[in-house]
C-alpha cells in the first residue's frame, strides 16, 4: 500500500464490525476529500501525461502512432530501471549521484565479457556478472555511508567521479565496443510474438484479480472493512484497459519489446518487496523516522546498505538495457543526462526527496514523462537546448505540485 496514495480502506472506527455497507458514492467522496487534502497520488502525473500527449499530437501527428509508441517504451526503459533504484534511496531521504556511471560500468563490463576475443562468456553469465558488480558497488557505498558515517551525497559524488574513471579504464583505447551477443541486443531490439504478448497480458490481469479476491476474502473473513466490490472491479477494469491497450497498440507495429517484460518483472518484484514484506515496511519506517525504527529494533544500517545495493543493482540493469538499445558501449557510457533523468523520473512521478513517501510506480510514470518530452521534442526537430529547458520546467512543475500538496496535507493535519 502506497503511503503517498490515498489509503484505500474506507473509514471505520476500529470497533465497527460491519465490513461492507460503503457505497461507491461514499468511496468517491472520500477520494475527493483526500485529493483536496493533498493526497494526490498519481493524479497530477496522469493529467500531465495527457497534456503532453495532446500538445505533441497537435504539433506532430506522428507522436501518437504505434511505431512511436514502441520507440517510446524502449527509450524510457533504461531510466525506468535506474529510477526504480533511485526510489529506494529517496525513500530513505538519501541520494545516490553515482547511478549514472554505475550503469556505465555495468554496461561496459557486460559488453567486454561478451567480446569474442576476450572472455566470450554466455550472455547469462555476462549479465549476472554485471549485475553482481552493481550489487558490490552499492554495498561498498552503503558500508561507507553507514559504518564510516560519510554522508551519502559525498560518497556517491565520489562514486560519480570514480566510476566514470572506471568506465574509461575498462574501455581503454578501444573507443566503441560493439555488443557481440544477440541475446543481450535482443532485450531492446527484439519483440514478443503477438500471441505471446496477449497471453502474458491476460496472465498478469488474472494474477492481479486473484490477488485482489484473496485479499477481499481474507478481510471479510476477519470482519475488517473492505473496499466496495464495485471499486475493486473498476480498478481491475482500468488496469485491463491500460494493459490490453498497450499490447494492442504495440502489436500494430513491431510488438512488445522484451525489455518491457523485464521491466514488468522487476516492477512487480520491487512493488511486492516495498508493500508486502518486512524489509519494505522497514525501508518506509527508516525514511519516516529513523530513530523510531532504531528503537523498534530495526537494524537501520543493514536497511541502508541493502537499499544502496538495490540502487546500484538497478543502475546496472539500466546500464545493460541502455547498452542493448545502442548495441554498443563507448567511453561516454553512463554519462550525459542519465543520472539526472533517473532522479528526475522518481521525483516527477511523486517520490518525495525528503524520505518516507514514494512508490516504484512513480519511477515508471516519471520516466514515461521524461521520455515523452524527449521523444516529442525530437519529432518536432527541436534542439537539445530546448529539450533540457522543457524537461527542467517539468521537473520544477512536479516538485511544485508536491510542495503545494504537502502544504495541503499540513493544513489538513496530514503532513
Amino acid at each position: 500500500m502506497s503511503t503517498a496514495a490515498p489509503v484505500p480502506t474506507p473509514s471505520a472506527s476500529p470497533t465497527a464490525a460491519a465490513p461492507a455497507g460503503k457505497s461507491v458514492g461514499d468511496y468517491a467522496r472520500r477520494w475527493w476529500a483526500d485529493v483536496r487534502a493533498g493526497e494526490l497520488g498519481s493524479l497530477p502525473i496522469v493529467v500531465g501525461l495527457i497534456i503532453i500527449c495532446i500538445v505533441f499530437q497537435s504539433q506532430n501527428d506522428r507522436f501518437l502512432t504505434a511505431g512511436n509508441f514502441v520507440n517510446l517504451i524502449v527509450q524510457a526503459a533504461g531510466i525506468t530501471a535506474i529510477g526504480m533504484g533511485v526510489v529506494f534511496v529517496l525513500l530513505l531521504g538519501e541520494i545516490d549521484l553515482s547511478v549514472g556511471y554505475v550503469s556505465g560500468v555495468a554496461g561496459v563490463l557486460c559488453a567486454l565479457l561478451l567480446l569474442p576475443d576476450g572472455a566470450a562468456l554466455p550472455a547469462g553469465v555476462a549479465i549476472a556478472a554485471a549485475l553482481a558488480a552493481g550489487i558490490a558497488i552499492g554495498t561498498l557505498h552503503g558500508v561507507l555511508i553507514t559504518k564510516v558515517g560519510i554522508p551519502s551525497f559525498v560518497v556517491t559524488l565520489a562514486g560519480l567521479l570514480g566510476w566514470n574513471g572506471v568506465v574509461l579504464l575498462l574501455i581503454g583505447d578501444r573507443g566503441t565496443v560493439v555488443l557481440q551477443n544477440d541475446t543481450v541486443i535482443g532485450f531492446a531490439n527484439d519483440f514478443l510474438a503477438d500471441a505471446t504478448a496477449w497471453i502474458l497480458a491476460i496472465a498478469v490481469l488474472a494474477i492481479y484479480a486473484s490477488v485482489q479476491l484473496v485479499a477481499l476474502r481474507s478481510r471479510r473473513a476477519a470482519n475488517l472493512p473492505t473496499d466496495p466490490p464495485a471499486i475493486i472491479g473498476l480498478r481491475l477494469a482500468a488496469l485491463a484497459v491500460v494493459i490490453l491497450a498497450v499490447v494492442y497498440v504495440a502489436n500494430q507495429d513491431r510488438g512488445i519489446p522484451y525489455v518491457l517484460v523485464v521491466l514488468a518483472v522487476v516492477f512487480l518484484l520491487w512493488t511486492f518487496v516495498l508493500n508486502r514484506t518486512k524489509f519494505g515496511r522497514h525501508v518506509y519506517a527508516v525514511g519516516g523516522n529513523a530513530e523510531a525504527a532504531r528503537r523498534a529494533g530495526i537494524d537501520v544500517d543493514r536497511i541502508k546498505i541493502a537499499v544502496f545495493a538495490i540502487a546500484s543493482l538497478m543502475a546496472a540493469l539500466g546500464g545493460i538495457i541502455l547498452a542493448s538499445r545502442l548495441r554498443s558501449v563507448d567511453p561516454g557510457a553512463g554519462g550525459g543526462q542519465i543520472l539526472l533523468y533517473s532522479i528526475a523520473a522518481a521525483v516527477i512521478g511523486g517520490t518525495s526527496l525528503f524520505g518516507g513517501r514514494g512508490t516504484i510506480k512513480s519511477a515508471v510514470f516519471g520516466a514515461l514523462v521524461i521520455a515523452s518530452i524527449d521523444n516529442g521534442l525530437g519529432l518536432l526537430g527541436l534542439s537539445s537546448g530546448t529539450k533540457f529547458v522543457v524537461t527542467g520546467l517539468v521537473l520544477l512543475a512536479a516538485v511544485t505540485v508536491d510542495s503545494i500538496s504537502r502544504k495541503g496535507r499540513a493544513q489538513s493535519g496530514r503532513a
Partner: protein, 271 residues
C-alpha cells in the same frame, strides 16, 4: 495474548511485579542514581516525580535496559533479573513509551503498532489482515474510539490520538509493566483527559504502570502512589490518598537525603 486477562494480574497482586533495590548509576563524576529503591505492583499506577535532574529519566532507562546499572538489584516478579539491553526488558514485558512517542509519521496506525515485530504469512508476505485485526482489538480494549481508521497515517492524528497509539503499541505485547514518560506534557485539556483515562484503564487491566509527570494534579487524579526522587535518591513513597499535593512538593524540593553523594557542599547550596 491480550492484556485484558485479569487472573494473571490477581496472582501477582501480592508482591511487586518490578522492584529495584539499592540501584546506583554513575556517569563519570556524576552520581545519577544513588541506592534507589523503587517498586510497582500489578494493577497499580505508580507515579515517579522529581525535579529536573533528579534521576527520573536515568531510572527508567536503567529499567528499559538502555543504561546498565552499576550496583543494586532488579527483581521481576520476585526473581533477580539482569537487564543488559532493551531486548531483555521487552522479553520480560517491560515497555517504555518515550516522550517523543517514536512513531513514523508516514506509516499508518497498524504499521506503527507492529513496527519491528510484523506478523508474516507465506512467501515472506506481511499478514496485514491479522495485524489490522489485532491492532483494532487492542485499541478497542483500551476504549480508544476517536481514531477514524486504523489505516490512516499517524501524521493525521492529534496529540492525544498519537499518545493512545503509542500506548496501545506498548501494551499489545503481553506487557506486564508499562512506563509512560510525560504522556500529557504537550496536550490540551480534552486530550489530557483522554490519556489519563487510558492510563487508568491500563491499571484496571492489571498492568503495572509507571507514570512520569511534572503535573501533580494529573498524578493525584490517576496514580495510586508516588515515588519521589531527589538528587538521584528515592526520598519518599506516598500513597496518594494519604497525602496532599503540598506534602509531595515538600518531598520533591526538600526530601530527606540518606547521603549526599560526592559533594557535600553542593547539597548545602541547593538546600
Amino acid at each position: 495474548m491480550s492484556t485484558q486477562s485479569t487472573p494473571r494480574a490477581d496472582e501477582a497482586r501480592g508482591g511487586p511485579v518490578l522492584e529495584l533495590r539499592g540501584v546506583s548509576k554513575r556517569f563519570g563524576a556524576v552520581q545519577a542514581l544513588y541506592e534507589v529503591d523503587f517498586s510497582v505492583r500489578a494493577g497499580e499506577v505508580m507515579a515517579l516525580v522529581g525535579d529536573n535532574g533528579a534521576g527520573k529519566s536515568t531510572l527508567i532507562k536503567c529499567i528499559a535496559g538502555i543504561h546498565p546499572i552499576d550496583s543494586g538489584e532488579i527483581l521481576f516478579e520476585g526473581r533477580h533479573v539482569d537487564i543488559s539491553g532493551p531486548k531483555d526488558a521487552a522479553r520480560l514485558g517491560i515497555e517504555v513509551v518515550y516522550q517523543d512517542l517514536a512513531l513514523a509519521d508516514n506509516l499508518d496506525v497498524v504499521q506503527n503498532m507492529y513496527l519491528g515485530r510484523e506478523e508474516r504469512a507465506s512467501f515472506g508476505r506481511l499478514d496485514e489482515t491479522k495485524m489490522e485485526k489485532k491492532a483494532s482489538e487492542t485499541l478497542a480494549s483500551l476504549s480508544v474510539t476517536t481514531i477514524r481508521s486504523v489505516r490512516q497515517t499517524v501524521a493525521g492524528l492529534s496529540g492525544g490520538q498519537r499518545q493512545s497509539v503509542a500506548v496501545a503499541k506498548a501494551v499489545m505485547w503481553n506487557s506486564r509493566v508499562v512506563i509512560l514518560d510525560e504522556p500529557t506534557a504537550a496536550l490540551g485539556v480534552a486530550q489530557t483527559r483522554q490519556v489519563l483515562d487510558l492510563v487508568r484503564r491500563l491499571g484496571e487491566q492489571g498492568l503495572a504502570v509507571v507514570l512520569i509527570s511534572h503535573n501533580l494534579h494529573d498524578i493525584f487524579e490517576v496514580a495510586d502512589a508516588v515515588t519521589v526522587l531527589r538528587l538521584g535518591q528515592s526520598v519518599a513513597v506516598h500513597r496518594v490518598g494519604d497525602v496532599t499535593q503540598t506534602q509531595v512538593v515538600e518531598s520533591i524540593t526538600a526530601g530527606k537525603l540518606s547521603k549526599v553523594p560526592g559533594q557535600a557542599d553542593a547539597e548545602v547550596v541547593t538546600a
